[in-house]
């Protein structure tokens, strides 16, 4: 149902159409809300106008409201802020991505260094002071341990003979 004389109706429709074009980037619900509110404002302002000429009166209403581009531009800032908020990735997700990208490879690398660098017997050897001469020899060949430390911390009586039978340069450190 029209609330205006025919000519005024056309002017209002044209104005709202121009606003609608400017609003194309907004979410659909926002577009409808803005147009509905503008329609309400235009009608109220038109009714409150004093110009006896309907065309002159509606043009004055639209002039006070502003150009469609300006009306939308003022809302654009708010809308962009909201879009930015929606697209903001939570910190926990970002943290997960960082851990996934760097943490896991580093973790694997760490395990690889631990296992690869010392060798399977190397770990056990350090912890348990293994008496396996092959493992001990392997560690010595790869430079794990120094002769100096070996001298200052000799093994107990049980492993003493075996230890001293190894050449000084190849003696491991425990």
């Amino acid at each position: 149902m029209s609330h205006y004389p025919e000519v005024v109706e056309k002017i209002v429709e044209d104005y709202l159409q121009r606003v609608a074009i400017q609003l194309k980037r907004f979410p659909k619900s926002d577009q409808e809300e803005v147009l509905k509110e503008l329609s309400s404002h235009i009608y109220e302002s038109y009714c409150a106008g004093s110009d006896p000429d309907p065309v002159g009166r509606i043009l004055e209403v639209l002039r006070k409201l502003g150009e469609p581009a300006d009306v939308v531009a003022e809302r654009l800032h708010e809308s962009l802020l909201n879009v930015g908020k929606l697209k903001k990735v939570p910190l926990s997700v970002l943290g997960g991505i960082v851990v996934g990208m760097f943490g896991l490879p580093l973790g694997f690398a760490g395990v690889a260094i631990l296992l690869g660098g010392r060798g399977p017997a190397g770990i056990g050897g350090c912890i348990f002071r293994d008496s396996d001469p092959v493992a001990r020899h392997w560690r010595c060949r790869h430079g794990i341990g120094t002769a100096q430390n070996a001298q200052s911390r000799p093994l107990g009586p049980s492993g003493g003979a075996g230890f001293h039978s190894i050449p000084r340069a190849y003696r491991p450190v425990f």
Binding site: K36, E37, H41, E44, L65, G66, R75
Partner: protein
Amino acid sequence: MDYLDGEKERRVTQLRKGILELAVMGTLYHEQHYGYSLVRVLMGDGSLSLREGTVYPILTRLDKEGLVRSEWVESDQGPPRKYYSLTAHGRKLFESLMPEFDQLVALVKQSRNGAKSRQGQPLGERILVTKEEKA
């Protein structure tokens, strides 16, 4: 002159942004309004040159922030009206903002009066007087 006009316009826009938001909250603090009636109250006697569309983005933002609530009400005469009122959170915030605003206004007035009372004195002399007063 054009440059000065542009500068003035930019600063007036900046000044209005925060103050207009406070004025909207202050108006809705006392009673609910629909868009056009709120614009009428804010414009007063028309001495404030304000584009009427300026108020709506402010209302939308306040609505989204939960400081204002809105509802569409059917009207007998024309299209439905969207009524706005301040929420409890909005009222509380407005009450806490008002003293801050008063302080800012007092600060601006004070600085303006200070400048007026020493008009005619050279700048260096004014600075010296201020230092002596402080001592």
